[in-house]
């Protein structure tokens, strides 16, 4: 069974890094995986996409993801300019980095049920743990918790592999904090 994830962000927010960490984490959990960017010449700030797939069988197809099982949105302002929710599967989930509530973005969702949308204060958590407005690792932790398709241990391990010992540990902590937050541990927030 193949699952597909589409990540929306802006150039410089680490969407491609996020997709590749996700792919490697899927692999660690015993899956085949694939991750690729939207192959852009985008510069910092421009809307970008990155894609990830995982499956228990080797993945051959290479087309971009039009009907994702999961969508991750790094920056809520994208909702105004990019149809980020487009093609989401009926039982799909959209994870949006924002402190706003689902009600605030209903207009932009174009008929997607509110239950599919998870508004998550990734920036707040990232600022607290990392003291930096970089939310990709935090969102990975949240994604692990809400989707259950990738273990938080794999995500943390691959974050550490990617960012090296000091920065990696800190980012892994951000992911764990986000994971706990989704699971109900909102202490400190």
């Amino acid at each position: 069974m193949m699952k597909e994830i589409r990540i929306h962000g802006r150039g410089g927010q680490g969407s491609v890094t996020m997709a590749s960490i996700l792919a490697i984490s899927f692999f660690d959990d015993g899956n085949y995986c694939q991750a690729f960017p939207s192959f852009g010449s985008e510069r910092t700030g421009a809307p970008v996409q990155a894609f990830a797939r995982f499956s228990d069988k080797p993945i051959r197809t290479r087309h971009q993801i039009y009907e994702p099982d999961y969508i991750i949105v790094q920056d809520i302002t994208l909702l105004k300019s990019v149809p980020v929710y487009k093609g989401i599967k009926e039982d799909g989930k959209i994870l949006i980095n924002s402190e706003a509530s689902v009600k605030d973005v209903t207009a932009e969702l174009g008929g997607i049920s509110e239950e599919s949308v998870i508004m998550f204060p990734a920036l707040k958590i990232a600022m607290k743990v990392l003291s930096k407005p970089i939310v990709n690792t935090t969102l990975l932790g949240a994604f692990s918790a809400l989707s259950g398709v990738v273990s938080i241990d794999s995500v943390k391990k691959e974050i550490e592999n990617r960012f090296g010992s000091k920065l990696g540990k800190l980012n892994a902590e951000a992911a764990q904090t986000a994971y706990n937050y989704i699971k109900g541990d909102k202490s400190g927030f």
Partner: protein, 390 residues
């Protein structure tokens, strides 16, 4: 060991296994990650090579030409405009019978400037005398580089080998790649380069002499024969690779679900993955359809194509390049070999898609199959045009 690697990293790792002595390159998207990884390997001491970052692709190819003539193993990589800029030198490398390996991260050619994937760049060098292989996925790209050196350095081949890898679609995609960790086994598969003639003060031959009308034709004839002969070596290298490392992707071509196929999609490179998935679905709905993968574009797999397609009704060629003023390139060549073998029962339709990074979706492939059953011997038909831009 299985790992998740970016395509460019897989290629760089594959090249590292071959232990090239001299690497030279000039950066161009989407080739850059490959040479970045290689330069890092040299900086870290993981690869003992001279890495020369030059001022142009023309010089990158010239540096490996000069080094190659000294009898050492050489490598370069490029894409698109860079490949076209190298073309003059690639003719020269082939003409001088030097076994350079070149990765091309296939990309569209300007104008308009477009950094995304198609295979038009490769078509520009199809007559240079370079062996041209095409990788389907990153595992094959990784393995194909070792095979490429082996083919290039065969004493009866002695030609440059170009490994085509779809830019971005493969070079920037992370996927599972099984690496080869036994370097001794690699060295057994690919022994040290051993050139009979090289620039050497102990036996000072002259290379690249003036070939007057009295000998130029013979020189080209010899190259032509070597290219034909390389078919055997491509096949042997693939087989030997399978024996030693267990992986096989076909020799000059590969067949997928071809046994009773009435309709066959012919393609090269990364699009094959999407095509195979679609073919699986069509098979489930009872359609007798298969896939013929072109793994070696030069030398052209004439016999393999004829034997694979002679009893087929519809052949669909899905191509990421176009020849203005003619039509398809691969499709025309396929029709040509069928004609040559007096097979006129096959309906060959050639379609152009995926130009300049246009995503190739499963829908596109379904459309091809539907169209091909209604159309007859079309060539270079464009798929998925946006009417508002015409």
């Amino acid at each position: 060991m299985k790992k998740v690697l970016e395509g460019s990293m897989a290629i760089a790792e594959g090249v590292r296994l071959a232990e090239p002595h001299v690497i030279s390159a000039y950066p161009i998207t989407p080739q850059t990650h490959i040479v970045e990884h290689l330069s890092q390997m040299v900086a870290d001491g993981d690869l003992k090579a001279e890495f020369i970052m030059v001022e142009s692709e023309h010089s990158a190819a010239s540096v490996v030409l000069g080094a190659g003539a000294c009898g050492v193993r050489t490598y370069t990589a490029t894409a698109a405009q860079g490949l076209l800029y190298m073309e003059e030198v690639i003719y020269n490398i082939a003409g001088m019978r030097l076994p350079v390996v070149i990765t091309v991260a296939n990309r569209a050619v300007s104008a308009p400037i477009n950094i995304w994937n198609d295979m038009q760049d490769a078509m520009a060098i199809r007559d240079t005398g370079a062996v041209m292989l095409v990788a389907e996925n990153n595992q094959e790209a990784y393995d194909m580089h070792l095979q490429a050196f082996k083919i290039a350095e065969n004493r009866d081949v002695m030609l440059p080998v170009v490994v085509n890898v779809d830019g971005f679609v493969l070079t920037h995609t992370f996927e599972v790649v099984e690496t080869i960790d036994d370097i001794e086994k690699v060295r057994q598969y690919l022994p040290p380069i051993n050139m009979e003639y090289k620039l050497d003060v102990e036996s000072p031959y002259s290379f690249g002499t003036l070939g007057e009308p009295s000998v130029y034709t013979e020189s080209r004839y010899n190259l032509y024969n070597a290219m034909n002969y390389s078919r055997n070596i491509i096949i042997d290298s693939a087989k030997e690779f399978k024996d030693m490392f267990g992986r096989f992707y076909g020799s000059l071509t590969d067949s997928y679900k071809m046994d009773d196929a009435q309709t066959v999609i012919v393609a090269m490179g990364s699009v094959l993955g999407t095509i195979k998935d679609v073919v699986d679905e069509l098979r489930e709905s009872g359609k007798k359809i298969g896939v013929l993968k072109i793994r070696s574009f030069r030398p052209f797999p004439e016999e393999e194509i004829v034997s694979a397609l002679k009893n087929v009704k519809n052949v669909i060629v899905a191509e990421k390049a176009i020849c203005p003023g003619k039509g398809g390139i691969l499709s025309v060549e396929i029709r040509d070999v069928l004609y040559k073998h007096k097979i006129n029962s096959v309906n060959v339709n050639g379609y152009t898609l995926g130009l300049g990074g246009r995503d190739i979706t499963p829908r596109n492939i379904y459309d091809l199959v539907l169209r091909a059953e209604k159309e007859e011997n079309v060539d270079g038909e464009f798929i998925g045009l946006s009417q508002q831009y015409l």
